[in-house]
Symmetry: C2
Subunit: 190 residues, 2 copies
Amino acid sequence: MERQREPWDARALLLLGALTVRSQHGYQINDFIERCRVTDLKKPTAYALLDRLVAAGHISVQTEQEGNRPIRKVYTLTASGQSLFDDLLRENLATPDTGTGSGDIGLMFLDYLPRAEAVAYLRRRLDQLDRALADTAVVPPHGGHLTVNVALEHQLALRRADRDWLAALVERFEAESADTTLTSPRPSSV
Amino acid sequence: MERQREPWDARALLLLGALTVRSQHGYQINDFIERCRVTDLKKPTAYALLDRLVAAGHISVQTEQEGNRPIRKVYTLTASGQSLFDDLLRENLATPDTGTGSGDIGLMFLDYLPRAEAVAYLRRRLDQLDRALADTAVVPPHGGHLTVNVALEHQLALRRADRDWLAALVERFEAESADTTLTSPRPSSV
DNA sequence: GTATGATTAGTCAAATGTGACTAATAAACT
DNA sequence: AGTTTATTAGTCACATTTGACTAATCATAC
């Protein structure tokens, strides 16, 4: 059981998420990725990943042809793929983005989980961020006004901003759910 | 002239920068990279890059042995390497970090440039950040309180934080140079 | 006296990622 | 009538990156 190859987790989440919206063919998927501007996944990488997901049974393929247009391969999520998506989403939400360059993909699919559950995962992420910050905040007692640590200060500032943004989001959601007693998922058109 | 392979630019800057401090052997370099915690460069990658830089004449190698210890390869910056370092540093400072996951390496070596010059480059970077933000800030007129755009909001928040931090840094430096008329570089021990 | 861990130096197979390319149809523009 | 752009679907060779491994010496701890 060698789960958790960090690098492709987020990418797989994105592809599965795209198919959660509706079945799509390759062109549409790549278009979706480009349009949503959250990550830098390139076409060949996407196809390779799709192949792997098909091989693993998380996605099924049908070919179709419209009029005289080129034949398309339409990719559809299987039950196994749906459940993988759910797992990856939960894990992604609960874990701080380890800055792999890819944007925070899990957030795109926040609406696919009951709000209360999503907030619970985000809160877990927030805890981890706080703990990490507490660890690093002890470091920089630099003498005088040397600038050696500027790079570290920068990192720290960004991590703090990340933390603060998340804290605000969680608060916002909790305030919302105080009003509304609605907790059913409401997927959105993309 | 196919310069500007973005991905390895920053890594090369880090290696050359490490050698700018002083000549070092492989273990020391890898140790330095790990210790400074700014990037995720792994050992084999570092060696591969070192080889390329040696082949390109930016670094020279001598072997030495201390007592009965294993033989070391000591890497030293050549004149060409020094000049490459300067170029890469200037470019890195003047260009916004395109979020390749690697932290902002240029900032580590801020002290190696005359302060006035460094500030000028940082200001250029700031301008680019501002322009990029102005472009994206028009996007999100989301109806009601849908959460589709949460991922984008997140990205935007982080970019704004990056921008604000940089603006503060530039201001700080400009205030400093109003006091001191010192503009000579003062490298720091690492 | 032995075991553990730091110092030192890498290598290699395997995974991963991408620039550049091909191919064909249709719509839109000139 | 000819050219460009969008739609559609990939592939392939190449560069890059890394997990896991080997090997040897010396210091420290148990």
